[in-house]
């Protein structure tokens, strides 16, 4: 098996909740819908631990597609560097009344 790609850092762990489908972020206590509360890892060891947590949660049928997402620390909330993940963390840009952007002051 190919070795896992080294994560770009800092990073957060993002997944979809299995039951609801909603985008969720890993924290020290489990998962949150609030991107501001996402656990930010700064080094490779912490990133590995987060990745392992995601893999276990996937096997426990709690989340789908867990993945580490590279971020930059913006005011109040970690902001994914790639535009796709940034959209995912906010909600549809054409419907500011929906998604995280509507539920949390980001």
């Amino acid at each position: 098996m190919a070795a896992a790609k080294r994560p770009e850092l800092p990073a957060i762990l993002v997944a979809n909740d299995l039951r609801e489908g909603e985008v969720v972020f890993a924290t020290l206590e489990g998962w949150t819908r609030d991107p501001r509360r996402a656990l930010v890892v700064q080094d490779e060891r912490a990133a590995e631990a987060l990745r392992d947590f995601g893999a276990k949660e996937f096997l426990r049928a709690r989340v789908v597609d867990p993945q580490l997402v590279a971020i930059e620390n913006a005011e109040g909330a970690p902001r994914p560097r790639h535009y796709r993940e940034a959209l995912r963390a906010l909600g549809p840009s054409v419907r500011p009344d929906l998604g995280k952007q509507a539920d949390f002051p980001l």
């Binding site: 299995l18 039951r19 609801e20 985008v23 796709r84 840009s93 054409v94 998604g99």
Partner: protein
């Protein structure tokens, strides 16, 4: 309109129960995601960027008031108050919750709807001419054939696990309004010139996506009684010979392209000769049973011109524009097919709120014999409207923001959901459509430009049909940013053409300016009564490329 019989009803209910059990097992962890994914896809359920998305089948785009109201109810109770009509005339709910999907499927079944085969590697929802049964240029109503194919292809045991998805369109008119040549298989109702007999021309191997191809004629004339046997032969050859080793080469178009249409035809004809036709073809009694559902409604005898409508038009410039652009000639005197544009300037192409669904349901019930249709251009149609009722319908639509008089014009933009919703997308498409609609919002300017189709896809899969847009726009990722490629000269109809690339990709903010430049070339060089696409055909790509290059060079 077709209504479920006891067999349809049982089949759908059993499928709901089956999927409910599969969801339960997934939520308990008894099924892994790898095991569950193909099962949920068979039921139209995707996992997208923000949430699950549930795709509801609207067979050949036909809806009645009860179904529209039920979709509105589901949108309010189980989603976020709206739905999105797609280029395959389906409806997508973008905020589905897995735990609620079995309930939603039950609600759909209550109104004679389902999500079966709206996804996955199977025969997808069959599409047809949105003006079926009312078009003035119609040879025969395609809906009975489309319904027959729907029934034949639903849970067909041999074709449940094809190499790839398979899309069929049916048309019965002189003019193609189904993008037939972009389909895996097309069924065109034709009249044999010599005998006067009605039968089918079968096309094969069309498709868009990363390798767009134009469908070719497989059988020029097929006697009508042999339709299902012939379709079965074509599907069987594909199912056995189509590639399964490479997802990107697995559509039927690659098989037809690789071995040539003559060789493919020979294999289909061999298979067709072997098939037990009496066992495979539909029985005439069943065909007649289906056809009876599509009998013409009880039209009134009306004069060809409505004085009431004429008087209203004289008083109301907006209504006049609406009548000019949104009404289509009906085969019956005194009636029209009325297109409801889901493209308000600044809106999201194809989106409809639950309130709007209910208003369209009321209008369909009151004024169009309880029928509405969905078009592949993401609009709705009230197919049987009395001309004298148009002013009242227009007023009701206007109250709901549904009276945009832009059908076929530059702001009637087709757009996939793009990266605002779709997990496969590489760029956003809706904001591009919105910016373009705002740029060309002035009704007088739209009228001056005339017929012009802009089609936008947010990735190479081409759900926004960009290859067949007069101006096609494809959103890609370039160096970590959204970038938009332009094609020119695409045509979805009888003069079918795939657009040609104009140059390198542009950033989003340059897209409106680029379209302005292309339109300026057309306005400067058009001949009297020449449409945009006709001018591009006459002039070729060169003058448009030159205009485009000025913008592309400035960006570079």
């Amino acid at each position: 309109m077709y209504l479920y019989d006891e067999f349809d009803e049982r089949l759908v209910r059993e499928r709901v129960a089956q999927f409910a059990s599969q969801v339960e097992r997934r939520l308990s962890g008894a099924l892994t995601e790898d095991e569950f994914r193909p099962l949920r896809l068979k039921n139209g359920l995707y996992l997208q960027l923000h949430s699950y998305m549930l795709r509801v089948a609207i067979p050949y785009g036909a809806l009645n008031a009860r179904q529209l109201r039920q979709l509105g109810f589901i949108a309010d109770v189980h989603d976020r108050g709206y739905g999105h009509f797609t280029t395959r005339t389906n409806l997508q709910f973008h905020w589905a919750r897995l735990k609620d999907v079995p309930t939603v499927l039950g609600l759909l079944a209550d109104a004679g709807m389902h999500c079966i085969q709206t996804s996955g590697n199977c025969i997808r929802n069959v599409t047809a001419d949105p003006f079926a049964g009312v078009a003035f240029d119609e040879i025969e109503d395609p809906r009975p054939v489309a319904e027959l194919i729907r029934q034949w292809s639903s849970l067909h045991p041999e074709f449940e696990w094809l190499a790839r998805k398979f899309k069929i369109a049916v048309s019965g008119a002189a003019q193609d309004r189904t993008v037939m040549k972009s389909h895996d298989l097309g069924v065109r109702i034709v009249r044999d010139a010599a005998s006067g007999e009605i039968g089918y021309r079968i096309l094969v191997g069309g498709g868009l996506g990363r390798s767009p191809m134009e469908a070719q004629i497989l059988r020029d004339f097929l006697p009508r009684q042999d339709l299902l046997a012939y379709l079965e032969a074509a599907l069987r050859v594909y199912n056995l010979a189509g590639r399964r080793d490479n997802k990107w080469k697995a559509r039927i178009k690659f098989l037809v392209h690789d071995i040539g249409v003559e060789a493919f035809r020979a294999q289909v004809e061999d298979e067709f000769a072997r098939i037990d036709k009496a066992k495979t073809n539909a029985r005439p009694a069943e065909e007649a049973r289906i056809a009876a559902f599509f009998a013409a409604p009880p039209y009134e005898n009306l004069p060809g011109v409505s004085r009431k409508l004429e008087r209203s038009i004289a008083r109301d410039e907006e209504l006049a524009r609406f009548v000019e652009h949104n009404l289509t000639r009906h085969k019956r005197k005194g009636y029209a097919a009325l297109t409801i544009s889901l493209k308000p300037v600044g809106g999201i192409p194809g989106d409809i709120s639950s309130d709007q669904m209910r208003v369209v349901a009321d209008l369909a019930e009151q004024y169009s014999f309880d029928e509405a249709r969905v078009t592949y251009a993401q609009n709705l149609v009230l197919p049987h409207v009395r001309l004298g009722d148009v002013p009242h319908i227009f007023a009701r639509l206007k109250e709901q923001g549904l009276a945009s008089a832009n059908v076929g014009l530059i702001t009637d933009i087709v757009s996939c959901p793009g990266l605002d919703y779709c997990g496969l997308a590489t760029a956003r498409s809706i904001p591009i459509a919105q910016a373009l609609a705002q740029t060309f919002a002035d009704p007088a300017r739209q009228k001056d430009i005339g017929e012009l189709s802009i089609k936008i896809s947010g990735c190479i899969n081409a759900c926004g049909h960009h290859h067949v847009g007069a101006i096609g726009i494809l959103g890609l990722e370039k160096k970590g940013a959204e970038s938009y490629q332009f094609t020119l000269g695409g045509d979805p109809g009888d003069s079918y053409a795939l657009g040609e690339l104009l140059g390198p990709g542009l950033p989003a903010e340059k897209v409106p300016e680029a379209v302005e430049r292309l339109v300026a070339v057309y306005l400067a060089r058009r001949q009297p009564d020449e449409t945009f696409i006709e001018t591009t055909r006459r002039l070729g790509l060169a003058p448009f490329k030159t205009a485009f290059k000025e913008i592309a060079d400035a960006v570079a």
